[in-house]
Each structure stands twice: as C-alpha cells, then as structure tokens.
Assembly symmetry: C2
C-alpha cells in the first residue's frame, strides 16, 4: 500500500534557489550540449551516432541501405532516451518551444525506427535481426526499452503529447507477446525495464505493463543457471560476460530471498527500486521486507558518507560489508542516482526520515559531484581521496580520474544526472489525499493534488531556515533531518514543540500560515565505525546535508600533511563566488612542517614529524575539482 | 673495484642462536618437505612433477617415449635448482650424507637431461624443441639456466663436487655459442642468468661467463622494441605477455639510463644485483651510479617499513613513488630476497650502513614473514594489514591471503627463502685481505680468509648485546645500525668512543680480544613521510631490526579499534614460547568501546566514539599469522 507518492512533474515550479540554479544549468548547458553530442556535433566529444542510429534503423526497416550502419555501445539508444527524459522534465519547468520541436523531431525519428511488430532497438534492427532476444544477459534490449518508456512517460507528463508513449505502449505489447504470450524465457541482464514498466502502468493504466514488470521481477533468480543455458544457445557475445556470475547480474537468487546488496551497483539499485515500487503497488509484504533488508545492507554497512555506493571498480560493484576505501572507490554517480530512486520508492511505502536522509545525502554529495559547476564535464567515479601522481595512474586507481572528462563513450552518468536534477521536485515533495510531504528542502512552489499549495523559501543547503507559506488548508509533513541536533519550529511566529514521527513533523496548516523551520547550522565532525579499516582515527566535516573535503588549492597544495585538531572549532567562511556561492569552512588543524633536504620528511623516521597549528580550509565535496587538478581528501586524521 | 666481498659459504658456522635455529628449520623441515614436493610425494601439495620432468627429458633425448611428458610452469626446472642451492648451503652448514646422496642422484637426473649441445631445459627438450630461444620474453630458458648455475656454484662450494658445475659450464658455453658466436639477438625476459653467470665466473674463472653476463646486461633496453620484433617472429605465447611493456620486463631503456625502479619487482632487483656485481667487477662507474640511483628510488620512495617492495599486484610490480598501501600490498617475499642480493652487492662496492640496514630490514621482516614458524607454510605476498572478511576476498585483495598456504604451483618464494637463510653467513659477513666486516649480527664463528677468526655471541634480534671474541689479529669493521640511537662499544671491558665511517666502526683487534657492542634496545615509534597517503596520522613500533604488528589474537580480536597514545610508553614483555621465543611489546593505547545494538559503532556518527585506555600488544611482524586467521595491522593511528 502506498502511504504517499511522488508529486507530478508539473506540480513543482521555481524561479530561484539552489536547485533552480542547477535546473537552469541543465536547461542552458547540459541539455543543449548533450543533444549536440547525440547528433555528433559537439567538438572534442567522442563519436556518439545516437541520432544517426535511429535514422539508419528506419532505412533498414524500409529495406533501404542503412548508410553507415550502427555505431556505439549495445545500449547506445538509451542515451537518446535519457536525454529526452531530461528534456521533458526541463520543458515542464521551463517551457521552450524550440527545444520541444527538437524533441518532437527526435521522437519522430525514434518512431520511424520501430518495427511493425513493435520492436524498437537500432542495434538489432540495423544488423543481426535474428539475434533479437537471444542474449538477455548482455544485449540490453530491455534496458533500452525501459529508458525509452521512462522518456515516453516523462514527455507525456510534461507536454501532454502521446506520440512516444504510444510507440512505447506498442513496444511493451511486443515485449508482452514475446515473454508472456509466447513464453520466451528469461529476464534482463541489466534491470531497468521493470521500474519503467511500472511507470508505464501508472501513466497509461496498461495492465500488461504491470503484469510484465511483475513477471520480470518474479522470474529473476528462480533459475540461477538461466544465463548459462542462454549462453549455450548462442554463438556470440557482447563483452564475454560470465553467465555464471549471478551476483553481478542480480540473478543468483529469487528477489524475495535477497538480503545483501551485491553485484553491479547500478543494476542492483534499479532492481531494488522496481521491487519497492511493485511491493507498494501490490501490497507485497514479503517483497517489501526484502527491500528493507537490502536498504539496511546498503546504508548500514556499504555506503560512503557521501551517499556513494559500489566501492569496487571490479564489476562497478558492491564489495563486502565495511570495505569502503577512499582512494580506490568506484562510487559511480549513476549508482547514487539509483539509490535516490530506491529511497524515493521506499518512502512511498513507509514515510521514514531514514530514507529521505540518504536520498539527500546521495544527492548533495555524490550526484552533484558528478557534474562540474559549469555543467560541461562529468565524473563517473567519485573517490573520497585524490592524490595526483597516484590517482588515475596506478593499476587499482586507473578509474579514479583526477579531472572530470567532458564526455565518454559510455555516457550513462551525465544524462542520468540531468534527468534527476530536472525532476528533483518529484523526490523533494510527495503527497497523498490528506497530507503534503516535504522530504527535501527545495525552494519553489508546489501545487499538491488536493489543492494545498506550499511555497518554500530557503537558502538551503547554505542557509538553514526553511519557510513554508501555505495556500489552502490541510496537513503538512516536514522531514527533520537526522543530522539536525538543534531544530526549532514556529508557526506564524509562535514556537511549537516538534513531535517527530519517524523523522517527520506533522502539522495542521491553514491558508496564509507561515511555517519556519530552523535546522542546525553548526558544522559537525563525523566519525566512522571502527569496522571500516581505512577510516580508523579519522573524521570528516559535514554541515547540513553537505560533506566537506579538503583540496590542495585551499591548503598550500598539500592536504596529506593535514590533521584535524580533536575538539577544535570549525568556522563558517563567506560564500565563495568561484565555487558557485558555496560556503567554505575553516577548521582548527595541524600541518606537518618538518622537511628534509628533499623538501619532505624522510620516508620513515623515528623522529616525530614537526607540526604547526593551522586552519584547514574545507569546501563542499560536490564542488571539488573545479579549480584544476589537485589533492583532495574527505577524511583527515584527528589528533 | 670491490671494497670487500661475501665470505665463502663454509667460512661461517654456528651451533646455536636465532639464525642457527632458522637454518636448522630449513634443514629439518623445509628442505625435506620441498624435496617431497618435487617428487610429488607431499600430501596435499599441488602436483610439481619437477623431478619427473628431468627423467622424461632424458628419455626424450634418447629417442624414447617421454612418458607423461612435461608438466608445470615454463620455469618448473628452477624449483629443482633452488632446492639444490638451498640443499648445498645447508650441507655446508650441516654435513648430511643421506641428503648429499639425494642431491647427487638429482644432479645425475639433471645431467641426463642435458642435450649433447649443452642445452638444458626440460620444457623444450620434451616438446617443442624447435621453439628453443624463440621466446626470450616469456619462456624462462635463461632464467632456469641461471638458477641451475647458482645451484652448481653452491654445490661445488659446499661439497667440492663439480658434476653439476661442469654440466652448467657446458650449458654456459652453449648459451655463449648461441648469443655471442652465432649472434642470436635478445636478452632474457626475466633477469637472473646475469647474476648467475657472474657467480659462474667467480667460481670457475670462465671468461665466457663474464662476457655473457656483460653482454646480457649491456644489450638490455638498447632496442626497446626487441620483444615486439621477437613476438612477430613467433606464433605462440606462454601467457600472452605484452611485448611492448618494457617497464615490466626491464627493457625500456639501456640499464645505465635507469633512474626509477619500476616494473616486476623481482625482475628488477635481480637485474640490479647483476648490474651492481658487474659494476664492482669491472669498475664501471656509470653502471654503479645507475645502481645508486635505483637504490635511492627504492629505499627513499618505494619501500615498505618492512623492507618489502613491489606495492602493486598488477604485474607484481613497483608502483609509483609513495604509493605504499598496507592492505593491497603485493610485497613479494622473493622481491625482498632480491633486495637483499642487491644490497649485498652494493656493499661490495661501497661499505655503507645504509645498504646493510635495508638488507637487515628486509630479512627480519618480510623474508622471515614469508615462512611460518614451523617451516610448513609460506607467504608469497606480505601485506601490512589483514582484515579477514575483506583481505583475500575483494577484487583488489584477492592476493592478500589471510593464512600462509602450504605450497603453490608457482613455488618461487619458499625455496628462495630456504637458500637465502641457509647462506645468510655470506650476507652477514664480508671480507677483504685487510678487514673483516660484520654487516649483520649473526651468532656463530667466522673464519676469514686472512686468518682472523671471529666468534659472535648475541641474542639478537631479541638481545642487543653483541660480543665478538677474536682469534688472530687484524682489523674488524662492525656496522652500527642507523636505528640505534644509543650505542656503546667496549674492548676487553674498556669503553671506547665510537667513530663511525659510513655507519661502520673500524677497530684494530688482536688475538683474544673481546669486543662488546650494546645497541639501543628501546622500542621506538616510527613515522612515515606525509607523502604516503595511507600512513597519515599513523605510527608503527619497531625494536631493533624488527617491525612490530598488532594481531587480533592478542587484542580482543579487534585491532581496527586500536590507536596508539601519542608519547605513550612501550614496554617489553617476556619471551613468548608460542611464537618461537619472540618478545612481545605492550604499548599505551586507546580502544573504541562504544557499541550500538549491533555490537558496533554506527557506520557514521557525529558522536565521537567512546574510548578507553588500554595496552595494545604487539608481536614481531614476521611472526604474524602463526596462531590462526585474525586481524593484523602494522600502522596504527596515533592520538
């Protein structure tokens, strides 16, 4: 049973504020740039060929020569889908006729590339048509379909236009015929279509979509050898994935038996998101309990303080409990986006601050770190320590780049972040007929379906006063973050005691009310469990939802010499224009000063290093690496 | 020019003491066990087939059926060679008719496997004879020849028997014909034959051996594309090594241009050993300067405090400067043995305590850690931190096993350690016509070539008094370790001022003199350069040459909760019989005690963890993991 749901995309609007500025960045910079990439018109970007693939597929369907054929990853189509989805959400926020016409034209190209039977995938339409549905492990046909379904729902929601939605309904019927009517075995190697089919069901009411989603979720892992059998039936492979690695591809056990988050992190959280959504939809307690176990497995034992998950580059995967290395972290941007999806769906069953706390933690730290402040370069991998000369160089750190690249062939993260940011209102606000929910503090106006309107004003995450101006009357539930140790609440200027129910303050509100919430603005030290080997004796600094880090550029080029003073003070500095208005912190610290002839302390010495007191300057983690390549460290030793 | 040389194997003898007990362990346990492995008679060990390979090769040479053919690694023959070398050194220490007969029989089998032209390698004698010398990159023919030459020299030195020496002289002449007379291009992918040929030259006076060693050293890297060309000429490969990876196989630049230790660590130090030996032999200053640069590259920037080198498992290789992770360390036992070889040869050009300090550091920590106290199991990889559940499990730590395995298919380290320990007298003592050198403190009697005898009595590394009783007269040079901050010297009971010349005290001694040296016995904290990212805010504890570590078994099963008290005291406990008489230390420390319902501090918390003062118990690093699987950590946070 759903306690509450995400608000519709168009229910939220804003004309200023922190999130608004990111939504503008996506609109003005990310979306146009990404479209130029899809069209192979972006200078310096790797060839994408995404749009041309659809054009060529349409030709192939007409029996014409398909030109230069298919190019790219087997999931290349999904780049178009994620761009369209971001574009749709952005159009809902910022109507833009020219952008909408561009999107419409792309949708026509996509429609043209759909086969008569509803099949839609340029890779297996342009070539190898006989290979359709024969390699669910690797071929990403259902993954691409899922992303296009999400785009279709978003575009319909934003514009009311059902062209793409009808294409994808037809595609869903085709998939239904293959997997349900014809009984084709199997389930997707990369979960995604499941959560998308549930969106299709919600948007269109198609029972077949619900049935298909249930089918793919329920059949997964029931035959742990399915992929081995499939691989024996084919004589080709995409990457040579091991069909026996059930943990990696989430096929080792039936989903209701899962208790440990494992394998490829994005695959995992996309699957868990669908599981949580289906559990809420069908009131499936066993499935919801599995989701709760997986949530605990992630957030109590396998998550970085930045809300990043998937600590190993080997398989872009979860590792084992408490294995959270700073320097070799994979911590993919997309995995944290998926974690937000999962959190949002868990909130629909159970309104509990623990879900929204993590959703916010992932967003303000790892997801935002994925995007340069100018919106032009992107991190796929988000380590918590970077030492140029070692990071990006040594074998176990090849993946931890020291600068955001502009684009990459496997471009999953940038458009994923774009669609997330543009639809952030859905994650920040929720509703049921009786209650309006504020899960995150996002400035803007929300028109809830029950008629209540809430205008939120805040400088969050740099200001900690949140003001809600109410239109209409009803009930409002505001999350009080777990990190806020001192919180005050006033209604129309009168202090009220805060009574928390699972992390939320529930209030009756009336037209014209002004609610003011003051969260704890003090920077705080955060310590990790001693079970995490790499964090022994260390602490990091957080303020509000933001994890801070220390960069060389603010600290004489050397953060490895810094340690925090135990019990020291942390002061709040002015906003930094260079960092998009981010607020820096200054912490009481020590710096090793002793030097040998080489300018440094010897490799090993029995003489304790000389230290001097200093102020260590910290910046929000998400702003790191916007001022050139330099050292960065989140966790410092404390002494 | 050589300032001094290693003593002959038979010049050292002992009947008690720390090293003697290890030499007895090698004699009584390691050598018999390893021979049973070579004969495939050891229970539970992986199939070796080494002896059978020689038998089968002899059959093949006679045109008979070669039975079950060749089995094993391409360098399988070298296991026999290293065993024979260890056996030879052990026979010199402990005459043993039965063992000698066993060795003689093996030598006959080896001799029978030599081709008429002098070629000796079972792999390419049993099969693929046409492939001889066509894959210098991978096929290890020169590597195996080198080890057998070392065995031949050792066996001759120990027993006076020249059967194997003549076999290997004939083999060297064959190699000379191929590479010098016939002008076959190339040089070995794994250095080893160079240092062996120099031993052959010293043992036999063969100028061809010297010329060959010079040739292989000088030609290396002069054509950086040599291996690429070689690989284009063949249609087979052993492991598919990249012929373009010149750093890995030490072929990127001519040896005199080297300035950074890089690539496969064992390959590197075997090569540097030969370079240093040749530089001393031929008074080649340019070559010696390259060796000095490489020594600094290793010891000032790339060496663990345990004397381990080669910090990355990727290529079993050196990484980059200051990349010395504790938990993912490769730190191969053989690489530290090779570092001792290199140190010993550097000492022959320049008597400087910095070489002997590192030689000792590598020996007492990494090399000894390679062998279980009972001599029955062996570490190949020597991390400085072990956390069962993470170590040996996660992708970047598959190689860091939590227990010593009994034997492995690629069995380089165990016999390598056996030959090193059995010949330790050569490393501990050196000589020239005028001076007797004591580089390491090894109890026993040394008869120097000039007639001086020195009897050393000491409980080192657990006692720090070293007593030398002199027979004859002459000059004695005793190394005073760099770590000894308080040292006293007395001659016949009279205190003498210590005048150090590059770390050595030079003394005139007369018959009947008794020299007593008292080294600093205080445990000491050691700190690392702040350039080593993983060691920020940490210290380790050393005493004498021993690095200590903290094991779970002594510390409530949990060393991750421990931190050392800054400025705290470290006390010396009694000898521990369970650890072969090792002395444990007790350090003032803190332990995190705060627990959540799960028995542990939450993953992240803004509440500082509660701590209580405690004593942290440390054991010598080399003794770790002799009491079952448990946590281990060398470097603890300091607060």
């Amino acid at each position: 049973m759903r306690t509450q749901t995400q608000i519709p995309q168009k229910a939220f609007s804003a004309d200023s504020g922190f999130i608004h500025s990111y939504q503008q960045l996506v609109r003005k910079t990310v979306i146009p740039y990404q479209y130029s990439v899809l069209c192979d018109e972006a200078e310096g970007a790797e060839k994408s060929h995404v749009v041309q693939n659809f054009i060529n597929a349409a030709k192939a369907l007409k029996g014409e020569d398909s030109g230069d054929g298919f190019y790219g990853m087997v999931f290349q189509d999904s780049d178009a889908a994620k761009w369209l989805e971001a574009c749709a959400y952005s159009l809902a926020l910022f109507p833009d006729g020219e952008l909408e016409r561009t999107a419409d034209r792309l949708i026509e190209k996509i429609a043209d590339a759909q086969d008569q039977d509803g099949y839609l995938n340029t890779r297996f339409t342009i070539c190898d048509r006989e290979k359709r549905w024969t390699n669910l492990l690797e071929a990403h046909e259902l993954y691409c379909a899922g992303h296009m379904m999400e785009a279709a729902c978003a575009y319909y929601e934003a514009t009311g236009k059902d062209r793409l939605l009808n294409v994808m309904l037809k595609n869903a019927e085709h998939i239904y015929k293959i997997f349900i009517t014809d009984g084709h075995e199997g389930f997707p190697g990369h979960p995604e279509v499941e959560l998308a089919l549930l969106k299709m069901y919600k948007t269109t009411g198609s029972k077949h979509c619900l049935e298909l989603a249930e089918h793919f979720i329920n059949v997964r892992g029931t035959d742990p050898d399915y992929y081995k059998k499939e691989s024996l039936r084919r004589d080709w492979s995409v990457w040579g994935n091991d069909p026996g690695d059930g943990v990696y591809q989430q096929s080792a056990v039936p989903v209701r038996k899962l208790d440990t988050a494992g394998g490829h992190a994005v695959r995992a959280v996309y699957l868990y998101t669908a599981m949580a959504d289906l559990a809420a939809e069908t009131d499936d307690k066993e499935l919801l309990e599995a989701c709760e176990r997986l949530w605990e497995s992630i957030t109590l034992r396998q998550m970085y303080v930045t809300g990043a998950i998937g600590s190993t580059a080997c398989g872009e995967a979860f590792s084992v409990d408490y294995d959270l290395p700073n320097d070799t972290a994979y911590a993919e941007t997309c995995a944290s986006i998926g974690l937000m999806f999962f959190a949002s769906k868990m909130l629909e069953s159970t309104v509990d601050g623990k879900y929204a706390d993590v959703m916010e933690q992932a967003f303000y730290n790892t997801v935002l770190a994925g995007i340069a402040l100018d919106g032009k370069s992107f991190f796929y991998v988000n380590p918590l320590e970077c030492v140029p000369g070692i990071s990006g160089v040594t074998a176990i750190r090849f993946h931890t780049l020291t600068q955001r690249p502009g684009w990459y062939a496997c471009a999953c993260c940038p458009p994923n972040a774009a669609r997330l940011i543009s639809s952030l209102g859905k994650y920040a606000y929720g509703e049921n007929p009786d209650v309006a929910f504020c899960h995150m503090f996002v400035q803007g106006t929300v028109s809830f379906s029950n008629g209540l309107t809430v205008r939120c004003e805040t400088e969050y995450p740099y200001g900690f006063d949140i003001r809600y101006r109410i239109g209409g009357s009803g009930r409002l539930a505001v999350r009080i973050p777990g990190w806020s140790k001192k919180t005050s609440l006033s209604v129309n200027g009168t202090q009220r005691e805060i009574v928390l129910d699972r992390g939320y303050a529930y209030l009756k509100v009336s037209d014209g009310d002004e609610i003011l919430i003051r969260l704890d603005k003090a920077p705080r030290f955060v310590y990790a469990s001693s079970r995490v080997p790499g964090l022994s004796g260390r602490a990091c600094i957080c303020r509000g939802p933001l994890v801070y880090c220390f960069e060389g550029v603010d600290n004489n080029g050397d953060v490895l010499s810094l340690s925090l003073k135990s019990g020291g003070t942390v002061s709040v500095l002015d906003k930094e224009n260079e960092l998009g208005g981010a607020v820096r912190l200054s912490a009481d610290a020590f710096r090793i000063t002793q030097q040998d002839r080489d300018g440094h302390f010897p490799l090993y010495s029995s003489v304790p290093p000389l230290k001097e007191a200093c102020s260590a300057i910290a910046v929000p983690y998400y702003t790191w690496c916007n001022r050139g390549e330099n050292q960065m460290r989140v966790w410092l030793p404390v002494e």
